[in-house]
């Protein structure tokens, strides 16, 4: 399966989706002008991955900041991951960033996937 690798910019996150090496990570800042357009390839990739997923997947979110339009798309990403067996979300937040911690908790209440919380 092809690797999806997007370099982070000042308004878009770094994304690596690599089935072979078991790396699934969205990190950095997400405030793109058009969040639906930006996340479309991510959702497509997950759609394909779902048909032939690894036995277990740790999907990492390590976001420093995201805007509200991105939050809707993050929920779409989580919903797409929800149907994949062996899925776990690893939600990183900076140790003094209680807003990011709370955001992760809220997402965990909206989807049926186990969340692990970690600080950095």
């Amino acid at each position: 399966m092809e690797i999806l690798n997007l370099e982070g910019t000042e308004d878009t996150p770094k994304i690596i989706l690599d089935k072979k090496n078991g790396i699934f990570e969205i990190s950095g800042r997400s405030l793109p002008e058009d969040s639906a357009e930006f996340y479309r390839p991510v959702l497509e990739w997950i759609g394909n991955y779902g048909g032939d997923a690894n036995p277990s997947t740790d999907f990492v979110f390590k976001l420093e900041y995201f805007n509200t339009a991105s939050s809707k798309l993050i929920l779409d990403v989580l919903s797409a991951l929800e149907d994949i067996k062996g899925m776990k979300i690893v939600w990183y937040y900076h140790e003094d960033d209680e807003d990011m911690e709370e955001a992760g908790q809220e997402f965990s209440e909206l989807v049926e996937i186990p969340f692990e919380f970690k600080t950095y």
Partner: protein, 182 residues
Amino acid sequence: MNFIYELHRTMMSEKLILVYQGDFTQETTKSILTMAERNLDSSGEGSSAKRKVFNVMVEALQNIVKHSDELVEGETRSHAAIFLIGRAANRYSIMSGNPIRKQNIPNLQKKLEHINGLDKDGLKDLYKEIIKNTTISEKGGASLGFVDMARKSGEKLEFSFPEMNAEYCFFCLKVNVPRGEE
């Protein structure tokens, strides 16, 4: 030329650390964010307040970008929007002003008053309700911006609609973020 000094004095007395007027795009949004971040960093602001200010700024700026496109045509082109940040001893104020068609005011006002009527948990519930049920609008908004601003602020959103002309009012918004709780 004395207006330059007058403007400077106004900015000092109102404790404004940043004022931008003109066209608003994603590019100007990024530039304004960079400038404001540098300012907050150099003033040694705590990371919690800094993050909240950044949050509110992004939502306010992207609101203007999204909603100023309806104003590009014809005479409304000149109705540029304005964005300001003030820093007082105990709080930051993120302020914006942009033209709005009069017919769109009742809806917006209702939304803002509803948000102002909610407490912390009420805002959280509303946020989850909207994010579950909304789809991204044509303008790229998830209609979560004001709710998020209210949550990050912890205070009521202040707003007014002074009249510009027969068709337009100027939507003024002020969001306060408390300083130094860390």
